[in-house]
């Protein structure tokens, strides 16, 4: 069974640009979570989607947004990129609505903002 996949693996942008990151969950999983992992820091919760709806978001500005498609894949968009947005962005998927359900992580997208 394929795990969570993310694309691209690496992404290099300049300040002010927009970045789009993609995630495909494990087959059968309806929930997708997005996390930011800055260097030397833990994972910071960004967004949670389930059944196409945003269920919760972390303490990030509105320029971080996303969506979930009918096939449960998800996109994270970061507008007006800033240098401090450079981080590893991790996507996780799970079954069901509660974070009690085990989250399976993808390998991440390394975003570098120059």
């Amino acid at each position: 069974e394929a795990g969570v996949t993310q694309s691209p693996t690496h992404l290099i942008k300049t300040r002010g640009q927009q970045a789009t990151l993609r995630c495909s969950p494990i087959s059968g999983h309806t929930s997708v979570y997005w996390y930011q992992q800055a260097l030397g820091l833990g994972l910071q919760f960004l967004l949670w989607y389930d059944e196409g709806e945003e269920r919760n978001r972390g303490n990030f500005p509105p320029r971080f947004s996303g969506r979930q498609f009918p096939n449960y894949s998800s996109e994270l968009n970061v507008n007006a990129l800033e240098l401090e947005d450079s981080a590893l962005y991790l996507c996780a998927s799970s079954t069901g609505l509660a974070a009690y359900n085990e989250q399976f992580f993808g390998p991440g997208t390394r975003l570098t903002v120059l």
């Binding site: 833990g42 919760f45 269920r55 919760n56 009690y100 992580f105 390998p107």
Partner: protein, 111 residues
């Protein structure tokens, strides 16, 4: 605010020894905790979880201890192997839908 963390940044152990990685949390309402292992270049991988109605849970070579009185949990790895080298995160559940992660502890295993 909510936080989970207070890890040592790096823990170095000899191969074959037992490892203990510690984590403290601040939200007394947290009732579910998970330990993740993250190897270089990979996403976090679930190791073991524990609910607040338990104080100990064992897996294969791993044990998680939860002390709700002092809001502390630990991950014990028995007979540490080189393949255990990774960053270990604890995470606590805030409410029902959001995991709060600690900053992580890097475990280095020496031969």
């Amino acid at each position: 605010g909510e936080s989970v963390g207070l890890h040592l940044p790096t823990l170095s152990v000899q191969e074959g020894d037992n490892s203990i990685i510690n984590c403290a949390y601040s939200n007394s309402a947290s009732d579910y905790f998970i330990w993740y292992k993250q190897e270089s270049g990979k996403g976090p991988q679930f190791i073991i979880d524990i609910r607040s109605n338990m104080d100990k849970r064992q897996g294969q070579r791993v044990t998680v201890l939860l002390n709700k009185t002092v809001k502390h949990l630990s991950l014990q790895i028995a007979a540490t192997q080189p393949g255990d080298s990774a960053v270990y995160f604890c995470a606590g559940l805030a409410g029902t839908d959001k995991l709060i992660f600690g900053t992580g502890t890097r475990l280095q295993v020496f031969p």
